[in-house]
Symmetry: D2
Subunit: 119 residues, 4 copies
Amino acid sequence: MKIMNISEIQNQLKKFAIERDWEQFHTPKNLAMALSVEASELVEIFQWLNVEESNSPDQRQIEKVNNEVADIAMYLLRFCSVLGIDLEKAIESKLERNAAKYPVDLSKGNAQKYNQRGE
Amino acid sequence: MKIMNISEIQNQLKKFAIERDWEQFHTPKNLAMALSVEASELVEIFQWLNVEESNSPDQRQIEKVNNEVADIAMYLLRFCSVLGIDLEKAIESKLERNAAKYPVDLSKGNAQKYNQRGE
Amino acid sequence: MKIMNISEIQNQLKKFAIERDWEQFHTPKNLAMALSVEASELVEIFQWLNVEESNSPDQRQIEKVNNEVADIAMYLLRFCSVLGIDLEKAIESKLERNAAKYPVDLSKGNAQKYNQRGE
Amino acid sequence: MKIMNISEIQNQLKKFAIERDWEQFHTPKNLAMALSVEASELVEIFQWLNVEESNSPDQRQIEKVNNEVADIAMYLLRFCSVLGIDLEKAIESKLERNAAKYPVDLSKGNAQKYNQRGE
């Protein structure tokens, strides 16, 4: 199953928070912090690995990775829910802007250009 | 539209990378770094805001938020794609573990407990 | 004692790495990652705290804070050492640029201006 | 000059904040966020670089690195100042704990052990 029902997951996360009286903690500011902390926990798994090790994580690392990507996705969906952000629409809009920003002929195999991306 | 087709977005992101010969940069290690950098750019929007300001971002901030959540989602989906991680399955599994870890009667309105979460 | 001997600490950190054959892991890229991971561990302590709780961490939190600021400082000093960066000079230079960038009369009590800082 | 006068820099940073009425923004929570955001800006410089490129940043990258390490150090010193943390003491204490935690004979050339560090 690869069709993710975002609304359903967001409803589950909201219900989970309401039941525990945790909505008070779920300000956009706090959720952004929590999201970045989980992202760093993903980074931590890879920080000392070389390229080959990074491409072939072992079973223990894969389990940790599954755990962290779930946390990241859940805080991201909760954050969007709290602020009323339509994540899918945001992604579609960004995909279009990226296509315009990085035309194939100028970007292809251009590591230098890629390295400066976002700076 | 709230049914996100993960596979389709992942296919678009892969095609985007292949066309630009960027797959060489998309190691799990690098993608985890990029994801955490985008998460911090989301944090940056909120870092000096108080709770009220955080709850009611202005139009300029909302636009930046939309931009950052899209970047986060796209790097997360690309990361999962490269490592063959099933994100939806990971989320479902984590939701079940969280329900067991934080029973309503022990967690409700318990800020202290919540504060120690994840430490 | 508030005069920190940076060179001495950097020498200790270098000796520590050499003795364990860990210099191979201490690339600037890896050290920057490790530094950001430690910074997020500091964030994690505060992520669910309100302003009052943040201003008055308890003894357990203070111990964790001491641990994380040490890790951050040590990775920062190690990073500078590996790349030959003079941290004190970098700070002095930045202090001067900040004084020019944020003149008192334009910046005073100007939260809106402050909020946009760095964006 | 490699003897950094921490107190003096902290005094300068405090004076800078007071003059601009910025102390209201400098809660431990906000400063921890700002520190992690700056750490991610350092990561961003290296995120797409391979090991060789990471070891030999060009002049433009070095300038950015100098800028970011200064920001990190300044937020770290300001954070410690606000919470009354003695950074030098924290570092010394951590150096001792690390020496006990990673004995040379068990840690030497042991990448696997190193990879699991901190997990």
